[in-house]
Symmetry: C2
Subunit: 109 residues, 2 copies
DNA sequence: AATATTAATCGTAATATTGCAATGAATAGA
DNA sequence: TCTATTCATTGCAATATTACGATTAATATT
C-alpha cells in the first residue's frame, strides 16, 4: 500500500496534515521566508539564493501555489510571486488553534 | 536523487521543516488530538478509534516519540502515551513565530 | 528573424513514506 | 506452565517525494 487513508479522518484533520505537509521541507520554508522578507520575488533570484536547481525550485513553488500559500502573476518574461496574506493568516490561526488545546498538566507519565 | 539537501539550509529551517513533517499526516494529527483530549492513552484504544492496523499506529507513535512530541511509559502490559508539554509548547511557539512575520500588505500581485 | 532569458513541464532516478501481515517480547491470568 | 493480551519490530509492497537534466513555451533583445 502506502496510500494515505484520508477517508478514515475528518476533513479538518486531513486539512491540517496537508498544511503541515506544505511546510515539511526546508526549501519551502526558505522560499516562504524569502518571500516574506522581500515581499515579491521572481524564481531566478530564488535559484541564486537557495542553491537548488531551477527545476526543483519551480516544483516547490508549484506546491506552495497549490495549497494557496503563495500567488503569482506573470510580468512580462518573469513571474512575480508573493505570499497570499489571507491563506497565511489562515495557516497561522489553524496552527495556533491546534496547539492551543494543551491539557492541564495532569501529565500521567 | 530524492534526498533532501539539508546542508543548503539553516538549522532553524531544517528544524521547522522536520516539525511540520511530524504533523504532516492525518493519522498523527488524530493521534495527537486523542492524546490531548484524554491526556493518557494506550495504543489499543487508538486502534479502535482510528481504524488503522495496530502496526501502523505503532509506527506513527514511534515517529511522534522520535520528535519528542509524545512520551510513553510502560504500565504493566499496556503502554501509556501522553503529550510532552514542553515540546508541545515549543512547537506552538515555533509556528507562531514563523507565521508572525507577515509583511505589511504591500501585496504586489 | 535569430538569439538570449526566464520559468514551467517532462522524464528519470534515488529515496522516503504509508500500510499491513507476520513475528517477537513481555506481562496477566487460568 | 500455558494461554491470552498488548504493543513493538521486521519485512514487504505500493505509492509519494525530492532532485535534476533536458525540453518546451513565452517574451525580450539584437
Amino acid at each position: 500500500m502506502g496510500a494515505t487513508k484520508t477517508d478514515l479522518f475528518s476533513k479538518k484533520q486531513n486539512e491540517l496534515a496537508a498544511m503541515a505537509k506544505a511546510l515539511a521541507h526546508p526549501a519551502r520554508i526558505a522560499i516562504l521566508q524569502v518571500l516574506v522578507k522581500t515581499n515579491a520575488c521572481v524564481c531566478g533570484s530564488l535559484v541564486d539564493e537557495l542553491g537548488l536547481a531551477q527545476a526543483t525550485i519551480s516544483q516547490h513553488l508549484k506546491e506552495l501555489k497549490q495549497v494557496g500559500l503563495i500567488q503569482g502573476t506573470i510580468e512580462g518574461t518573469s513571474v512575480c510571486y508573493c505570499i497570499n496574506p489571507k491563506v497565511w493568516q489562515q495557516y497561522k490561526e489553524f496552527f495556533a488553534m491546534f496547539f492551543k488545546e494543551l491539557p492541564e498538566n495532569k501529565s500521567c507519565c
